[in-house]
Amino acid sequence: MSATENANVPVEKLVTGIEGFDLISQGGLPSGRTTLVTGTAGSAKTVFAAQFLAEGIRKDGAPGVFVTFEEASEDIRKNLLSMGWTIAEWERRGLWRFVDASPQPGEDTIEIGEFDLGPLLARIEHAVNMVGARRISIDSLGAVFSQFVNAAIVRSELRRLGVALKGLGVTALMTSERTEEYGEIARFGVEEFVADNVVILRNVLEEEKRRRTIEILKFRGAGHQKGEYPFTVLPDQGIIVIPISAIELKQRSTQTRVTSGVVDLDRMCGGGFFRDSLILVSGATGCGKTLLTTEFIKGGALKGEKCLLLAYEESREQLIRNAIGWGIDFEALEKDGLLKVVCAYPESAGLEDHLINMKSEIDRFKPDRLAVDSVSALERVGTRGGFREFIISLASFVKHREIPGMFTATTATLMGGPSVTESHFSSITDTIILLRYVEMLGEMRRGITVLKMRGSRHEKDIREFSIDENGMHIGKPFRNVVGILTGKPEYLSREESDRLAGMFQE
């Protein structure tokens, strides 16, 4: 591979403001250059293109130009209102300008002989100058080809457009369609002549699950995260990229610990949960998940922290009664403004509405910690694909509030095993705590273990815990038992366990 000509000059990046994208792109789009965003139909290309301008306006006051070859400008204005983007108002304020090159309905166009796209270039330049644009989005290149018969001319004219954009000093984003999720980069091979930088949006159907991902294929001369990252499109927000591994890399900024509400659990976690972490508590029904969230609430309240409890399994009365049984008075906490209990039936709304309600409760109450009991109760409301998007959006929302969020998930069987919630959630949670029933000599006992604790040492033992009128009490680790996590506990004889211990002695 040959070295690039100016390998020593770093490519500057322009922060896009698109949530998560700036993380995986390590600072945004290459500044002053053109990036091609390519995807199949319905992969949210237009939203991405518009959001690039919208975030520039909202976060930076930077004017932008939107060139549309496909949808008429009035349709774009109307459709994107649902994202909360007031394009018409921005146009009035000179922050947004359309170059509407969409096909004109009811007009026959005939092509006779050679032509050029000089007016397109002139219109773009004119628009850029009129508003002093620093960002420009062009949607989409494939639609240019469909407006003309002579593809060779279009190709050479688009190449000229690419050069002209460089001259204008704007950071440009062009969209283009592709026919397959994993195939040629874009139709008409446009990536070869318009852009050094390519971003791919995917909308893959996988085991009946829709999965949106974004991948930065290349940034010439600039770094970026590799691979596919899930994203979602939300009303009032647009695209949110979930930078799973980028979170790992970047977000461990806070080392502040908060209490789990149980002193021994704090110790098992190496000193408590991180303040901005997501905690998944998994266990069978009746195993102690609601108890643990109650302890989590109490632990916060004792430190004067406000907690929001979103409950989807039990009624308010039940929750209050449970808590009293463990020595905690929810009503008194609510009176003191340290707690808000919100109960909803999973079936009362669709997943999207639940998500919106959850977010608005969080925004209104501004809790210092959040508990959701249980997330898995919402599984049955939507499709599996929808549930995954829901989990990811909720997790990213909470993560950005920098508060600890405890989410419980009920396992499908009494003795444990994975749940759908777990499989979707486990990669984005920082901490996973398992609660399990353990059958010992004909007696049911309860076990707790910290399976994962991102960025910290934690205890690997499975400890027994008991419940009484003062709440949760964590005791000694189980010895001489294996197979607790898989739900098939087995005894080991004394000699056997000594032999095993000897094998792993350091």
Partner: protein
């Protein structure tokens, strides 16, 4: 073809390039030869009036717009094929000839 209808034609160009000049020449010849002089022809340079291109949604040049008689017609290109231009302007039926 009615004898007394008048043609109003607008030809958009981007600067006075060889292609622009060729389109102007081709159109003028067609107007004289086939419209019997009953026409009004305006040449508009996009480079001088870019906003006009935006308002009229001009994307390519040369673009010929037949404003009158209705319906509105657009022909893109240097108009090098006279016969096709005549068909495009409804001066020659497709199956004629």
């Amino acid at each position: 073809m009615s004898e007394n209808r008048k043609f109003i034609l607008k030809l958009y160009i981007t600067g006075h390039t060889a292609r622009s000049e060729r389109a102007i020449k081709n159109l003028r010849r067609i107007c004289e030869d086939d419209l019997g002089g009953k026409y009004e022809m305006r040449v508009i340079d996009i480079l001088e009036q870019p906003q006009l291109a935006e308002d009229e949604k001009i994307l390519a040049t040369p673009t010929l717009i037949r404003v009158l008689p209705p319906p509105l017609r657009r022909i893109i290109g240097d108009l090098s094929d006279t016969e096709k231009v005549l068909v495009g302007l409804d001066l020659l039926p497709l199956d004629n000839n």
